[in-house]
């Protein structure tokens, strides 16, 4: 799963700290999300998408190839 948090944060002129405060997590969590080292819970994904005024699927992009591999194995 990829995400567009960094891009959207820059577009909305938000710092990592500000976004963290808006969604109620630590700044470190935003850093992990942007680096792709952590997949958020559905609640957090929803809150982040809501902050940017977008549906979840436009912020978090699922890797279809990886999903197909999981199904075929």
């Amino acid at each position: 799963m990829h995400n567009r948090i960094k891009e959207l944060r820059a577009r909305h002129d938000l710092s990592q700290q500000e976004l963290a405060r808006l969604v109620g997590v630590r700044r470190e969590t935003i850093v992990f999300l942007e680096k792709g080292k952590y997949n958020p819970s559905l609640r957090l994904a929803h809150d982040i998408a809501k902050t940017f005024g977008l549906p979840i699927e436009e912020v978090f992009l699922f890797d279809d190839e990886a999903a197909k591999k999981r199904v075929t194995v």
Binding site: A20, G24, V25, R26, R27, T29, F32
Partner: protein, 132 residues
Amino acid sequence: MKKTIVGFVISALVLAALALWALKGHISGNIQEIVMAGIVLVLVGFAIYLGVSRVRSRLNREPAEDELSRKVMTRASSLAYYISIYFWLFIMYVSDKTSLEAHSLVGGGILGMAVIFLLCWLGVKAFGMKNA
């Protein structure tokens, strides 16, 4: 905040016990004692680091704990438990081969478990938990 204070108090108590241990002359330059004291200091340092990061989060008006920090703790704990089973098997093997006293082996085992947890925590932090 209560958790943070408890963490600092326990760290202070451990440091005080270590200082007493050293003052009573139990750390006599024996390599085993120096290693044990070193490990205790590293673990206390880790506890203080966790406490300070919680305080810093509070000062930045962030939650002291969030879903990532809880998941990192859970993942590190389960991994450390799994590895510790093999570690205790190793301790049992060593106890048969050496003439170490039981309390030294148990003390070493407990300290070893704490070190394993610290290493697992650092590993989970470094590599992330993308597929958790």
